[in-house]
């Protein structure tokens, strides 16, 4: 067997580095990455009727402070609601077990996150526990839809009586 040429090591390292970069891109920056959890966390579960635009790896906050992130989102087939798994940093292990979780939007059009409202119970949530009190994402489309459906007939039928929903329009002579 001939001695290996000196550039063989460089070529091998280069090819390995290229494939390592490809593996990094494929696993860390695509949707493959969402299945992997990090070490120093514990998980909580919460069910929501509607999660809106919540995505995996969105932040979880208490009083605006980030304490973890959304690990996974799945549909519970029997109950037809969304089962959201939250992975919380181990140092925040004293969340009361009557705390409630809600989905908020940062800003009017920003991304959504899970906000936890702490309760007053002396017992704390443990790994794998489920948060019972939840509040779904507020859907702007639903709100606008309700407003249009409720407000539409009222304003057209009651021309004589000033509509309570639109005082400036009816106040004009």
């Amino acid at each position: 067997m001939n001695p290996r040429p000196s550039y063989a090591i460089g070529t091998g390292l280069f090819i390995l580095l290229g494939f390592a970069a490809l593996a990094y891109l494929a696993t860390q920056t695509t949707s493959v990455a969402n299945g992997i959890a990090s070490g120093n966390t514990y998980t909580l579960k919460a069910r929501f009727q509607n999660i809106g635009q919540l995505k995996a790896r969105a932040p979880v906050k208490i009083a605006g402070v980030r304490i973890g992130d959304v690990q996974s989102i799945a549909l519970e087939p029997q109950r037809m609601d969304a089962l959201v798994t939250l992975s919380i940093d181990k140092q925040y292990n004293d969340i009361p077990d009557d705390s409630s979780a809600a989905i908020f939007t940062s800003g009017l059009l920003g991304d959504q996150y899970v906000g936890i409202e702490p309760g007053g119970s002396p017992t704390f949530l443990k790994n794998g526990d489920e948060m019972v009190l939840t509040q779904s994402a507020m859907s702007i489309e639903n709100l606008i839809g309700k407003f249009l459906v409720n407000g539409g007939p009222k304003s057209s039928s009651s021309d004589s009586a000033p509509a309570s929903s639109a005082p400036p329009a009816s106040g004009h002579p």
Partner: protein
């Protein structure tokens, strides 16, 4: 007289495109034979790929950083800075990674290949190989072509990874974007198949283009010092034009 000259010039241009096409077929035909010279291919992968790592990594880092900075400013006008990770990743994977890597490789390795082959031609080494019954296409041209096709996608991956790292550095560490938002929006949007693999196909094609033009220009360089110099310049000019044109065509087909 003038029209005649211009027609001549045009005809010569068309003829050299035809030469390049025939040369491409000849190089492809010599590929099976060149597998016997796999050590030469390996040495060329080392030269085209491994030796280009420093420039590709540095440029990738800075391209990612400046991309994050510019896009942060633009997105903040619309209040959409949460999409920074997505936009940086998509621009890198789909466009900037393959194109900038190909331009860098054309400048760093393509020129060297052209000058090397051009001087081999000028000093009659290529003819000497023919005398010794060594096919110069299989020993000189095909390994360099193959090495470009192998090295380019790997270099583009390294470029992309460094770009993401640079974007993260600027967006999260410097501008204070939330880490989970940066990665979460990126991972929920970027698709392995549609974005990363499409970028890889592009860079494989670009690798073929750059190394074919470099080898062809070297192979057909006039055997004078001036001829080799012009051929080296033409490698960079033609590679850049063809890469950008092919990029447009491939993007139009892929999206």
């Amino acid at each position: 007289m003038n029209a005649n000259l211009r027609r001549n010039w045009l005809l010569q241009g068309i003829a050299s495109v035809g030469d390049c096409g025939l040369f491409f077929v000849a190089v492809l035909g010599a590929l099976p034979k060149s597998l016997r010279h796999w050590r030469e291919t390996c040495r060329q992968v080392w030269f085209v790929g491994a030796m280009s790592l420093v420039i590709v990594m540095t440029c990738g880092l800075f391209v990612g950083m400046v991309l994050a900075l510019q896009l942060y400013y633009t997105l903040s006008i619309f209040g959409g800075t949460a999409a920074l990770g997505t936009v940086v990743a998509l621009s890198l994977f789909r466009e900037l990674g393959p194109v900038v890597t190909a331009l860098l490789v054309a400048g760093r390795a393509g020129t060297a290949v052209t000058a090397e082959i051009g001087l081999m031609r000028a000093t009659d080494q290529i003819d000497a190989m023919g005398m010794m019954a060594v096919d110069p296409l299989a020993y000189v041209a095909s390994p360099r072509f193959l090495a470009g096709v192998i090295a380019m996608p790997l270099l583009a991956c390294v470029f992309n990874a460094m770009g993401i790292f640079g974007g993260h550095l600027v967006g999260v560490t410097w501008l204070g974007l939330d880490n989970g938002t940066f990665w979460g929006n990126m991972t929920s949007t970027v698709s392995l198949h549609r974005d990363i693999l499409d970028g890889l196909y592009k860079s494989i094609v670009f690798g073929g283009i750059v190394s074919l033009i470099a080898v062809f220009q070297g192979y057909t360089a006039p055997p004078t010092s001036e001829g080799v110099a012009y051929s080296t310049t033409r490698t960079v000019v033609f590679s850049s034009i063809v890469i950008l044109a092919f990029d447009f065509v491939m993007t139009a087909f892929m999206t």
